[in-house]
Amino acid sequence: MSRAGSITLRYLTPHSKWSIHSEYQDNLHLLTLFRGGPVIWISVEDAAAIEVRDNDWVEAFNRNGVIACRAVVTHRLPRGVCMMYHAKDRHVNVPLTELSGNRGGMDNSLTRIVWKPTHLVGGYAQLSFGFNYYGPTGSQRDDLRKLLTIFWNPDLPTIDDY
């Protein structure tokens, strides 16, 4: 499912510089150290292809979910790859998404849980299976089907529209 003004990219989720997972995502000090909210990094060529400028709102979606975030344009990424730093926090400073009508979304909205045998080992003490206990691991991000599409929408509805 592609829309006008969207592009399909590979999706990486490295660890963030100014937070530790969900920690410090609400810390004003650390939020001022970058853009102050969820961002997705895309390359210069890809941004030009869908007419996205630095700091524009974008929606990133695939069949697993959708994220509303701002775009960061950089030549640090090669064409065809986008990157969203790993964070597990519910964001309140983003608009509602067009696709779902919900607010927020974070990097794991686009991944999904896939069991692998090592999740099922143990059965004693803390070494037991719990749903997503060990977190999304590499297996859940490598799926070739999880290609990502970015859709540029400058007029995402906000709560004032309701």
């Binding site: 960061v72 950089t74 030549h75 640090r76």
Partner: protein, 406 residues
């Protein structure tokens, strides 16, 4: 929805910039062309994935020999200490003018809106005074920081800063530094009241070794003419291998592999550290490369090749000593900090650092304290009767056991 609100006006605002807006090349196509460090070399720094480069440049206050913001304070609240050259803001005298914030070209003075005073890096002077390194040095995981003292000629600072050619500033500043091995310099230092153990520390100083003896460390933006005193060793970087056909095949025995094809453009480093003089950078990078080649030959092949050292104007012994200092130096080799002499503290209270407004008829007189004989306790080092009789009155925290002879 929590949209950004201005803390000054209370109204909603859309963010256009922030203190770290372009962290890690974010927004690079828009922000990078404005970088003043790229002046004159725009075509060399290509904004493409294959040519992207980044490196860290941690910056603290340079504690310049000619600090420009000291002169810009109308209250004379800023001063450079006589005893160790640390530049400070007197929190009692500061009146919140904020000219110092504009006056520092390195932008290392920060205004505290809550206290209404300017603040800056203090070089952790309470630690330095007892011989401990600064917190930034102590915590450096990469162990890339070195602290040491340098003897310099304070009377020629103005002359050095006034050299007409920007590219001559590096040599002018190097000309200010005095050789602690020279007995005449040591005698003069003694006459000027520098304690003997300080002179010994000057001889062992790693900063003197890297910046003056081996000349691999360079001042940051010497063209600002403030004679900065935090120097940097420029980084080597990988050789760019853009195309397989055009690729550079690294020959490990080739001592100077394409210095001009390193990922970080030499001219960029020159704009940062040498007022644009690329030959200076090439010289430093050649010395670092020679050190690598020499040590590789020695450790892998078991050969000592003196020609490698001679090729960069150094002796093999110097090259090995430089290697030890840069690669495997121990804590006490990297931080060579003498302790302050408390018996001299009274003398310091009578002769504070001067500021730019201390001329006749001027506002001047920043921080001169009344004599202890007035019976006023100026600080805990002095008592009503005068300085403590002998030894140190400052607690020494976490100090390593003293080595004999220091």
């Amino acid at each position: 929805m929590a949209r950004p609100h201005s803390q000054l006006t209370g109204r909603e605002m859309s963010l256009r910039s922030g203190p770290n807006w372009d962290d890690m090349l974010a927004g690079a196509p828009e922000t990078v062309p404005d970088d003043p460090d790229l002046r004159g070399i725009e075509e060399q720094v290509k904004l493409s994935y294959e040519h992207a480069f980044m490196f860290y440049l941690p910056r603290i206050c340079e504690h310049c020999l000619n600090p420009s913001f000291v002169a810009s304070c109308p209250s004379g609240a800023m001063y450079k200490r006589d005893e160790d050259g640390i530049v400070l803001v007197d929190q009692d005298k500061c009146r919140g003018w904020r000219f110092c914030v504009s006056g520092c070209p390195y932008k290392k003075v920060y205004f505290n809106h809550q206290t209404g005073k300017a603040e800056k890096c203090t070089l952790c002077y309470p630690r330095i005074e007892v011989g401990l390194p600064t917190i930034c040095s102590e915590t450096c995981v990469g162990r890339i920081r070195y602290l040491g003292l340098v003897l310099y000629d304070a009377d020629r600072v103005k002359e050095a800063a006034s050299i007409p050619d920007e590219k001559g500033l590096l040599d002018a500043q190097l000309g200010l530094f005095l050789d602690p091995e020279d007995p005449a310099v040591r005698a003069q230092a003694r006459r000027d009241g520098i304690p003997d153990d300080w002179i010994e520390h000057a001889r062992r100083s790693p900063v003197h070794a890297l910046a003056i003896r081996y000349r691999v460390a360079l001042p940051l933006h010497p063209e600002y003419r403030t004679l900065p005193m935090v120097w940097y060793v420029p980084p080597l970087s990988p050789v760019v291998n853009v195309l397989e056909r055009d690729g550079f095949e690294a020959d490990p025995d080739d001592v100077f592999p394409a210095i001009d094809r390193l990922r970080i453009p030499v001219d960029y480093l020159a704009n940062l550290l040498a007022a644009g003089d690329s030959e200076v950078i090439r010289g430093v990078l050649r010395r670092l490369t020679a050190m690598r080649a020499y040590m590789r030959k020695q450790q892998v092949l078991g050969e000592t090749d003196d020609a490698v050292a001679a090729g960069v104007g150094m002796s093999s012994a110097d090259l090995e000593a430089m290697y030890r200092l840069l690669a495997i130096a121990k804590y006490e080799d990297r931080y060579v900090i003498p302790q302050a002499h408390t018996e001299l503290a009274q003398r310091l209270a009578e002769l504070p650092g001067t500021c730019g407004l201390d001329f006749e008829g001027g506002p001047g007189g920043c921080g001169a304290l009344p004599r202890p004989a007035d019976g006023i306790n100026q600080n805990f080092m002095l008592t009503k009767k005068g300085p403590p009789p002998t030894g140190r009155s400052l607690p020494v925290l976490n100090r390593r056991p003293e080595e004999p002879g220091t």
